[in-house]
């Protein structure tokens, strides 16, 4: 069911204002979504004045600076800081992306940071992705082959290998799935762009022998065909991949097989 408005317990209130204490003249206002499960209060937006003279270039650097110097209570996920692990996926300036690869110079005006959209919030900028992980598990993301090749590599031609380009690079950061309105409204049943791209990655792999069963499994009014080519996924992907195209490829395979 499409519910445009946020439920009552999710309405956002105005939060604290942290004034700059460094005396810097190069300040930027950073608005951050906060919610603490231990207080029973509603979510709020805290505003921080950040000294940009002593801040490296990415949005994650701002968050680190706030956590280290202004407010240690803020919670967010991060690990590699190089756009490889996908931990710091969040909504910045109205668009999903990785905080570690998003330069704050690209954002005009105040910097607004929210968790990934339409997820149950665990704390502050951390959303609950367990549904997505379960869906990922459901497409059985591993190679299925009858070959018992313990001593030799399972080879594929250069051409077949090239089919995986633009798919294997996915880091499962969930930027695409949580940008998709279809996934917002039908997230329990629709698999979403991230999982469907992964499904396609195994469908198209020449070494996999389970293609027919994989296609059959995904060919479902809700699981697959809730994709209406809104293309928010492709717009959001921080790795420049194209989940919309992968989904269309699955649809095409089903229509032509």
């Amino acid at each position: 069911m499409v519910q445009i408005r946020l439920p009552e317990n999710s309405k956002i209130e105005k939060g604290n204002y942290y004034k700059d204490k460094t005396g810097s003249k190069n300040l930027r206002k950073v608005n951050i979504y906060r919610w603490d499960p231990s207080t029973g209060e509603k979510p709020r937006i805290d505003t921080y004045e950040v000294d940009m003279d002593n801040c490296p270039s990415k949005v994650l650097d701002i968050l680190n600076k706030i956590k280290n110097e202004i407010d240690p209570s803020i919670a967010y996920r991060r690990s590699c800081a190089h756009g490889v692990c996908g931990s710091c996926a969040m909504n910045m300036d109205g668009k999903n992306g990785l905080a570690c690869t998003k330069p704050h110079s690209e954002i005009k005006g105040d910097i607004n940071i929210y968790p990934l959209p339409h997820l149950k919030v665990l704390k502050d900028l951390i959303g609950d992705l367990s549904t997505l992980y379960k869906q990922y598990e459901s497409v059985e993301p591993w190679l299925k082959t009858s070959k018992k090749n313990d001593e030799k590599e399972n080879l594929q031609s250069k051409k077949d290998r090239a089919k995986l380009d633009g798919l294997y690079e996915c880091i499962m950061c969930a930027c695409c799935s949580t940008s998709c309105p279809s996934y917002w409204w039908n997230g329990e049943k629709y698999l979403g762009p991230a999982v469907l791209l992964q499904a396609y990655r195994w469908i198209i792999d020449s070494r996999d022998e389970d293609r027919k069963a994989r296609l059959k499994k995904v060919a479902d009014e809700l699981k697959l065909y809730r994709c209406h080519t809104i293309m928010n996924c492709t717009n959001a992907c921080p790795k420049g991949l194209n989940p919309a195209k992968a989904i269309a490829s699955i649809k095409k395979m089903l229509a032509t097989s």
């Binding site: 999710s10 109205g94 665990l122 209406h228 928010n232 194209n242 195209k245 649809k251």
Partner: protein
């Protein structure tokens, strides 16, 4: 177990892109077209019912509201047709690159108004 954690904001904070704008408009114009077919059915029925009845709908459609309504319906159909052509290419697997999709999306928006204008001019100058 019921999860009472808040839901993170979604449509309230997410930026609109050309592609998402065209997508939602495609749906809305689809609904408008469906409804406007009813109007067209009324028009045809009144034609069958005779001259006096036809006069009635003639006066309504020639009023300002009527003309606006017709233009709106023409635009709605124009948009739907162009957007549907875009979807047909997508079904062939063509036009998914971000740049291409943005260009075709803009073409649909601009084209829908252009097509409306062309139909308006044709109707006004040549068909009556």
């Amino acid at each position: 177990m019921k999860n009472d954690n808040p839901l993170s904001p979604h449509i309230q904070i997410y930026n609109w892109h050309i592609s998402s704008l065209v997508s939602i408009s495609h749906r809305i114009t689809g609904i408008i077209n469906f409804a406007s077919l009813t109007l067209i059915c009324f028009w045809v029925s009144y034609l069958v019912l005779g001259k006096d009845n036809y006069e009635l709908i003639f006066i309504f459609l020639n009023s300002f509201i009527g003309k606006f309504l017709i233009l709106a319906i023409v635009w709605s159909f124009s948009f739907q047709i162009l957007s549907e052509i875009r979807h047909l290419f997508w079904d062939y697997g063509i036009g998914f690159e971000l740049k291409t999709a943005n260009i075709t999306g803009s073409l649909v928006i601009v084209g829908s108004f252009t097509l409306t204008l062309i139909i308006y001019i044709l109707g006004k100058n040549f068909l009556i």
